[in-house]
Assembly symmetry: C2
Amino acid sequence: MISTRGRYAIRVMIDLAEHNTSEYIRLKDISERQGISQKYLESITATLSKSGLIDGAHGKGGGYRLNRQPSDYSIGEILRLTEGSLAPVACLGCDAKPCEKEATCRTLPMWSKLYNMVNDFFDGISVADLVKKGEDDGFFGACL
Amino acid sequence: MISTRGRYAIRVMIDLAEHNTSEYIRLKDISERQGISQKYLESITATLSKSGLIDGAHGKGGGYRLNRQPSDYSIGEILRLTEGSLAPVACLGCDAKPCEKEATCRTLPMWSKLYNMVNDFFDGISVADLVKKGEDDGFFGACL
DNA sequence: CCAATTCCCTATCGTGTTGGTAGGTTTTAT
DNA sequence: ATAAAACCTACCAACACGATAGGGAATTGG
């Protein structure tokens, strides 16, 4: 399950991409457009900003804006940042603790393959792809 | 994340497949072989038994055994039974509550595609495939 | 028939995560 | 100076997870 943190992060990025000028976008506006509590969004944009995905400006006239082109953000990096690892089991991923049964485990190869599949899937989608979707020129036209 | 319930269920099924005679296998033995608390396993085998995946026999000489050939169990049906839905977001899956933004949601097609991918992935693997893995004749030889 | 064995059922419980709130501090433009 | 905005820290209710405990019901060996 992808939690709200990751999903809201994606929606913020889409919102910023849809208003992608040189101006800074106020969190208040994003929160109103997306219908998500501003306070809760703060904790998410803080993560995005600290890691350099977006640029946050203090004070009057401040807000957030993208640091790159929407097509240069993969959904994978957004989710890995906000959700932690996308690993389906604890034995995999960045903070995986070594398992003594690893060598004989009958299921590890399955989890590992899924892990790769999911990462590749999300790495193959950009923020720009999701924005395009709303314009009926979608990446996913064939799947719904 | 796949929880222990689903993972242990798979391990039980593999264990039963590896001792697949007409005899009933005691939960005590499975628990010792797998190194999982018998009491905790009880709640999992109860689910498997109630839904007809395995056959449980009471009393002396009782235990559990498979109802079909190991190759006739897909990992998908085991996980969907023990984990609930494999949907990455609440808007999808069996108990999905309708979302008013569904028509304009920019991310739903992505989740939907992933959902199908994951289901297809697990439906394409059988318990027999995972047993084979241990015999160096694996389904997953190329992926680890 | 009795007692051991085994699956089955219900309740409980500590721990951690999730989703969110609250209040304040710092930075900046006007 | 003042207002606006990002930033930071702490806290909290609700829930799920992983597991334990204690018994009850069915079956069989003796």
